[in-house]
């Protein structure tokens, strides 16, 4: 049985009021006697004593019964067939965010351990015809397993494998999963086991329709915590010093003093004492010398949640690019390529070209027999190559207006081509999968596409015939083209539990991610598709991109647990038990409103009370 309006139970306060009223003014049964002559001189000394205790009369019982029935009716109770052991399908939503690693009050373990114990109890309470669905509400909601009583051992094993990690709880997503799992099942119920450290819960669930009854169980308690929320640096790369910013928060009711240590590449750079007010924050700044690759800040001592006492930041802003320029003679293109940060350029003549293992290969006025792996930029391709269809005769279209396609907007954003003359250019016939980024009239000038292991961009015009190299747009276009053709550097820092999409080297076949605890995750790379990465442990992950056995790139990703919505361990108010509104038809048959029946019985009781009161005016001596 569930209750839709628990506030209606306040009406039960009328029960003691009724008892007090009966004690104050005892209602007397009226009896008609032949005459009062014989009754008028009888002693009445015991009347006062009788009023000290509640008069246990039929009338009092009828009043209490009517008030109790009406009170329960106001609470709008519902009963379901599951209440009578028909079927009970349970969806257990277990919070697995980092805050669940904090100690649970009254339990010798973490909040997650308490949730596991409670979940085992609930799984055992499901009848023979019921089922249990396990869902985790971490940064991403996840369906763990679903089984009936026969699969209890499997569910227990799934529970044992849970770990508290990641920042944030996708409670709305978890509830959606649970409702989907219970869809079409009578007697379904969702039980949410959480530490209630969910500051944004009300906003997430606001206005969300209730389809299945939900019971919220809080496993958390008031715990103080402090956290390093932010670590940022600017500039992350360059020749000058690096300015570092950090933010420390105190989620507690007591002021505290702590020390923040900053380390660069595992070398302590500074230790600074900070005073934190209750619910206060302190911002810190440092200036550190350039050349470091990894910064790490940490608080001394331990608190309820050690994971958010450390924060790290990678200072590697650019990924190193090895480029090979195949050109008959050095041109302005070479100068522009050398100006790209982090790019290591090698020059080779077309005659000496024997293939390329570089990250980026640039062909100026020449085409290779086959596309090399990695990024490929072709400038002014010659005619007659089987790789690319190019007309032999350059031309200038009658309508020389330039047009940038939506796919090229990122390349040409902020770049002015108004004074650029591209000169006569051969007609380029790019493959069907190619995207034309820039066209002059009907003539494609810049196109880009992707083959199996290569990302190819073609500039059809001749730089020598164009004034582009004399314009500011040229180095920008070259730098952006290099950026598009080569994979980006991994993010400097991530929030634990966040999903990040990595764009690996087009030659890579496998991504290898080594977690802080040494666990290795290998992700097979689909050509042309980003690889999804979901780090759930705070610390430093190592990312390795491999083409077969060959290591293409290795970098580090800092993953942090400190977040304002996760580090505050104090429980928030959870929604009360909610039940879906009464449904019609077969869906509504599972939950039936009980209040009309309660109200009807209360009406009958009141009717009986009326007859009892007024029917007793009959002559009394004979009735005894």
């Amino acid at each position: 049985m569930s209750i839709l309006a628990p506030l209606g139970l306040l009406a039960l306060l009328a029960l003691p009021v009724i008892i007090v009223l009966h004690m104050l003014r005892e209602r007397r049964r009226r009896v008609v006697v032949p005459s009062l002559l014989l009754w008028q001189q009888l002693p009445q000394q015991r009347a006062a004593r009788r009023r000290r205790r509640p008069p246990l009369t039929v009338l009092l019982l009828l009043h209490l019964l009517a008030a109790a029935l009406l009170g329960f009716a106001l609470a709008r109770p519902q009963w379901s067939l599951a209440s009578f052991g028909a079927e009970r399908h349970l969806a257990l939503v277990i919070g697995t965010s980092a805050s669940m690693a904090a100690p649970a009050p009254g339990f010798s373990g973490s909040r997650l351990d308490a949730a596991r114990a409670r979940a085992r109890t609930l799984i055992g309470s499901v009848g023979a015809r019921g089922s249990t669905t396990l869902i985790t509400a971490g940064p991403q909601a996840r369906l763990l397993d679903a089984a009936g009583p026969e699969g209890a051992a499997r569910l227990a094993a799934a529970l044992a494998g849970l770990s508290a990690s990641g920042a944030g709880s996708d409670m709305a997503g978890a509830l959606t999963l649970a409702e989907t799992a219970l869809q079409g099942r009578a007697g379904g119920q969702i039980v949410v086991l959480t530490d209630a450290a969910l500051p944004t819960l009300a906003a997430e669930l606001g206005g969300r329709p209730v389809v299945v009854p939900i019971a919220w169980e809080s496993l958390g308690g008031p715990l103080d915590n402090r956290a390093l929320l932010t670590l940022a640096a600017h500039p992350r790369a360059g020749n000058g010093p690096v300015h570092v910013y950090a933010r420390v928060a105190n989620y507690g009711s007591q002021p505290l003093r702590t020390v923040v240590r900053l380390a660069g590449d595992e070398r302590v750079l500074d230790s600074r004492a900070v005073n934190l007010q209750p619910d206060g924050e302190v911002e810190l700044t440092w200036t550190v010398p350039r050349g470091m690759t990894l910064l790490r800040a940490e608080l001394d001592g331990e608190d309820a949640l050690p994971a958010d006492d450390v924060v790290a930041l990678s200072l590697v802003q650019n990924r190193p690019v090895r480029a090979l320029l195949v050109a008959a003679q050095p041109t302005a293109l070479e100068r522009a390529l050398r100006a790209v940060p982090g790019l290591d350029l090698e020059l080779v003549s077309p005659a000496d070209y024997r293939g390329s293992t570089a990250d980026l290969t640039v062909f100026d006025g020449v085409l290779p027999p086959a596309w090399p792996a990695g990024g490929v930029l072709v400038v002014h391709p010659p005619a007659g190559s089987p790789l690319l269809s190019v007309s032999a005769t350059p031309r200038t279209p009658a309508e020389p207006a330039l047009s940038v396609s939506p796919a090229g907007s990122a390349l040409f954003d902020g770049v002015s081509l108004n004074t650029v003359e591209f000169g006569a250019a051969p007609d380029l016939a790019p493959p069907e999968r190619a995207a034309v980024l820039l066209a002059r009239g009907d003539q494609p000038l810049i196109a880009s596409w992707r083959s199996e292991t290569s990302t190819i961009a073609v500039w059809s015009f001749d730089l020598a015939q164009s004034n582009l190299t004399t314009r500011l747009a040229f180095p920008l276009l070259v730098a952006r083209t290099v950026r598009e053709l080569t994979p980006p550097a991994p993010p400097a820092a991530l929030l634990a539990g966040a999903v990040v999409e990595l764009r690996p080297d087009p030659r890579a076949t496998t991504l290898e991610l080594t977690a802080p605890d040494g666990a290795i995750t290998r992700i097979a790379v689909t050509p042309g598709a980003p690889a999804r990465f979901n780090p759930d442990q705070p610390g430093i992950y190592t990312l390795a991109e491999r083409a077969g056995a060959r290591l293409l790139y290795e970098g580090r990703i800092a993953v942090n647990a400190g977040a304002a919505f996760e580090s505050d361990l104090r429980p928030q108010s959870l929604p009360g038990p909610v039940a879906p509104p009464a449904l019609s038809g077969t869906e509504g048959a599972a939950n039936r409103p009980l209040w009309p029946w309660l109200a009807a019985v209360a009406l009958l009781v009141m009717l009986g009370e009326w007859f009892y009161v007024h029917g007793r005016r009959a002559p009394g001596l004979a009735e005894g």
């Binding site: 008609v32 009062l36 009888l42």
Partner: protein, 320 residues
């Protein structure tokens, strides 16, 4: 038969006619059946000689001696005596004209007063029903023995009476009258008796069927009905639940006649006090009646008329 409608037997397959009197359902039906009347016809009201009656008819002995064929004693002849009663043999022996005197019989005035107040309707069976049966039976005996019958229902005052009537020919009328007595809102027993005594200076046999639950003084009324002119019997109709009520707890008692209410919490101690009070009240009434030379008989309302009430009245010498 001519008295079919009166002496109709109760038929169980026929629903009884109910009417509500002061909130009480009272079963309708004949007061008694024909066989009962035949059985009690052998009885008669036992009137005292001191009552003044009419010697022209009646079967009650009189204090007066009249010339009669049945010899009792002699007295000297005086002018105007019927010469048929001269004892000529005595005249031959004593040379004095003597007249033979004999026992004279008379009829008496039988006054049956019935309390029709609302308090008489309460109880199961109701006291009014028993009073109607009693008055009907006594009235039948009076008519059957040529007495002059007066039936007077009363409430706060005497209501329209039945009679004086004499002879069995008035029996049907009498029974219908008794059956038609309806409850009155209240009663003034003392005033009614006093006024009735003044209105009937000749006196007679008077039977009052009442519950004695009246606020005014009973002694005042009984003073007007004292012997020797009156042979009065107070039939005190009592309800068993009135003597020993089974009520408990907090109650609001309502007077059936005045509507007055009394808050009372009844426990064992209070009920014992009530019973003591009722007992002393009955004793006081009995002493008052005895002091005035008036008969007093308590009759329970649940007593069967023929099996218990009639033998009781015979024992009390009202019937012979």
């Amino acid at each position: 038969m001519w008295f079919r409608t009166i002496f109709r037997r109760n038929r169980p397959d026929r629903p009884r006619r109910l009417w509500r009197v002061a909130g009480v359902n009272r079963p309708a039906g004949p007061l008694f059946d024909e066989a009962f009347l035949r059985r009690i016809e052998r009885m008669s009201l036992q009137a005292q000689r001191t009552l003044r009656g009419n010697p022209a008819s009646g079967e009650h002995p009189s204090q007066r001696r009249l010339p009669a064929t049945i010899f009792s004693e002699h007295r000297p002849y005086s002018s105007g005596d019927d010469v048929r009663y001269v004892d000529w043999n005595a005249y031959a022996r004593q040379n004095q004209v003597l007249v033979k005197l004999g026992e004279a019989e008379q009829d008496v005035n039988v006054h049956l007063l019935i309390d029709a107040s609302r308090s008489m309707t309460l109880g199961s069976p109701s006291r009014l029903r028993l009073a109607q049966q009693l008055v009907g039976a006594l009235g039948y005996l009076a008519l059957a023995h040529s007495d002059r019958l007066h039936i007077v229902p009363f409430g706060p005052a005497a209501l329209r009476p039945f009679g004086p009537a004499q002879g069995k020919a008035r029996m049907i009328e009498m029974l219908r009258f008794v059956e038609a007595i309806t409850p009155q809102p209240e009663t003034r027993l003392g005033a009614v008796l006093e006024r009735y005594g003044r209105l009937h200076p000749q006196g007679g046999m008077l039977v009052v069927c009442t519950d004695l639950l009246a606020p005014d003084s009973l002694e005042q009324g009984l003073r007007a009905l004292a012997p020797p002119r009156w042979q009065t019997l107070v039939l005190h109709l009592l309800d068993r639940h009135e003597l020993a009520p089974t009520l408990r707890g907090p109650l609001e008692l309502e007077d059936s006649e005045t509507g007055q209410r009394l808050l009372l919490t009844l426990d064992d101690e209070t009920l014992r006090a009530y019973q003591r009070h009722v007992h002393s009240w009955r004793e006081a009434v009995a002493r008052l009646c005895a002091r005035r030379g008036i008969g007093y008989a308590a009759v329970m309302s649940d007593w069967p008329l023929e099996q218990q009430v009639i033998p009781y009245l015979r024992a009390r010498r009202l019937l012979s």
